[in-house]
Symmetry: C3
Subunit: 307 residues, 3 copies
């Protein structure tokens, strides 16, 4: 059962609630591929993107429209001009009066929760600063489940910038609910924050840490790659060394498990060579497509009267 | 009966025509709340916003989509680039060839009327400079009627910037058609223009004028608040004094009539304290929602084959 | 029969394929005028406009929505930010995962073909730099066929900037498939490129060339006007002289054939006087409307399961 009014943070999801989203997503997948539906006909989703996030916006739009619903958009330029004139609370009450649900993307952490306190309709957090981005984590979990058949007891490596990467923080938490083995692979300066690591340990999750990707590649079921941003390194030479070590190529995958899947929240820059796209391990474009499926499930649950 | 081809100015509306819009709006209100409709399925509304007006744009989009129709948008950036290349007349003929009606927002007074002379389809004026914004006035009237049960013989105070406020000029005219008592409350420098006041007097409308909001609050059925812009005052001290006098708080409302409703075209800045939102008098968010309802009625009349 | 997966260039169209598009367009024309359809309900068209082209974008949106489909948009600002972060190939694979077809407008020649190599769904070229813009040519042909009854054996003048005008290059090629007589009218500095002229000659097309519009006007069935851009001329006086010679007025048309139609891809600037709009020869706004019809046909063929 799914009883939430809002979708603000993965921390508020139990394993049962996650499963109910993933099950509904699986049922709705044919509609994400173009099967006609009028499940949300007459309904309106408002997207309030106070900062740009093209893929997330288009994924939500697609999800709503595939279910027969309509979308109204507040873009970043309008958002910044509107926020000069009025409080977020007022904006949310006005646009909440037009729509059946709001999706909020905002540069400031906590914005989605604030919005949910004033909105007359459900709020979905599509990323608020260093805060949460729960729909990304749900689509990551859906991808693992669809492509591996299950999530429990898999060996998953999170690779790259584990310090600033919001995505991997939420995913690590969610994987711990499924008893996955987690390997953290990052340069020393970009380690997963201590608070999150202790939280995982305290839940009994098996967590390894290393800075050497080359050995991990061969012993995991899921490689979750993330982008390492040049700006994080004061010294360009240091960045170049790290970027070279954390780059996947077909050669680096020759001894990987047969069932290994490679994921990435996209956009990728250099961390996955285009030559990997043709290997049987690549799943990042599939993962992006599954974002539509998972968002359809959430919209159906919040707007369309439950699972 | 409603026989208009275009909606350009409140001055062209008789009381009977206003009533027919409000009656249809009342009938369509359930659809504004998400009841499924395909009344305008297959129809297209083009929004030509040559200057930004986020709420008005989203309200029109919502109205069209709630009725099953679709929307195409020309945004301000495109509008300014397009108008370098061609005349408004040509733009209107081209986009009028795509759509079943055009909504125009333009910084120059008279633009909507000019557009209507070239458009092959109905034109709705969504605000042209210091000119008209008839859909705002119609939603104001609808709000009064729904929340008070009737418009006739009410006592209505228009408060704030009555000199530059396009909204209150049209509303005062429309209220005069219903025999409302009007109280004009403004600082001396922002009085309602003489031309409009004489027009009201000549129609036999009861009009009082004052600069003291505190007494008026207790003797009216409707307080229509507007924003006073800092830029109107050469002296910041003068602005601060006025802004303090024209600010509503729960305290200022303790002796108000039970049935008093407070309206505001939004966005508000300081003229209504957020603490007023929780009082039984606040109706400004409701009013914003009613904008969808009223615009649905106009679209249905102009595109969908009458009332 | 129409077996294409993508629509990239007119050069890939046989006469039979063009005819099948025009025939379907004719069948769909009532839907472009607002007849309700759900032929593409549940389907999504993604518009990837890496440079602005307001009319083309709105025309495609209208076509898709008139058929009951939905549209998602990547605007130029987002496009330029996205292309900093990832390759066109990745963008196309991600958005191709959301949509049933992609429309691409890009400043660089060859972009649409590149996109088609990575896209999981059909790609329509909506103009790529100095390259192709096949839907414009198809709508030009549709206009001629509808307004003249046939294309074969007509006498068509292409007027203005024939050197840089992508539109007239494709149109000349397509007209040669129908045995039209072509007259090229341009100032000497803006002649049709030699490669295209030889190609027409080698196909046996009758081609005349002149720089004098005044005599041509009276001996053709179609005048296809194009804009001459001031920037093409180093000397403003030279530009002014040319612009005056290539400007149509009612006076310049007094001895024209009864059945003469005047076309223009729009926007026009000075090359057609507004006074011509009221003559029975003007068809440029009709032509713009037909763009919706022709794009509906292409979308139906590529997404909706053929003609």
């Amino acid at each position: 059962m799914f009883e939430k009014k809002h979708v603000l943070s993965m921390r508020e999801f139990s394993r049962e609630e996650i499963d109910s989203v993933l099950d509904l997503a699986s049922f709705l997948e044919p509609y994400a591929r173009g099967k006609k539906s009028d499940m949300l006909a007459g309904k309106i989703l408002a997207l309030l993107f106070f900062e740009p996030s093209t893929r997330t916006r288009m994924s939500f739009e697609t999800a709503m429209k595939r279910l027969g619903g309509a979308v109204i958009n507040l873009g970043p330029a309008e958002g910044s001009s509107i926020s000069k004139g009025e409080s977020l609370a007022d904006t949310v009450r006005v646009i909440g009066g037009y729509a059946d649900a709001l999706v909020i993307r905002h540069p400031k952490e906590g914005s989605a929760r604030l919005a949910s306190q004033f909105s007359p309709v459900p709020v979905l957090n599509a990323g608020d600063g260093a805060g949460h981005h729960p729909t990304q984590t749900l689509l990551d979990l859906y991808t693992i489940k669809k492509e591996q058949g299950h999530i429990d007891d898999l060996s998953v490596a999170l690779v790259g910038d584990l310090k600033y990467g919001r995505t991997v923080h939420s995913l690590a938490y969610a994987l711990s609910l499924y008893g996955a083995d987690i390997t953290l692979v990052s340069p020393p300066s970009l380690r997963m924050p201590e608070a999150i690591r202790s939280d995982l340990f305290s839940k009994g999750t098996s967590v390894r840490e290393t800075n050497d990707l080359s050995v991990v590649v061969n012993s995991v079921d899921v490689l979750y790659m993330t982008r390492i941003q040049r700006e994080r390194f004061p010294d360009p030479q240091e960045y170049n060394k790290v970027a070279r070590c954390y780059r996947l190529t077909p050669e680096s995958l020759v001894n990987a498990r047969k069932n290994l899947i490679i994921m990435h929240p996209l956009p990728r820059v250099d961390e996955i060579s285009p030559a990997v796209d043709g290997t049987p391990h690549a799943r990042y474009f599939q993962q992006s497509f599954y974002g539509v499926t998972v968002r359809m499930a959430l919209l159906k649950m919040l707007i369309g009267g439950g699972a």
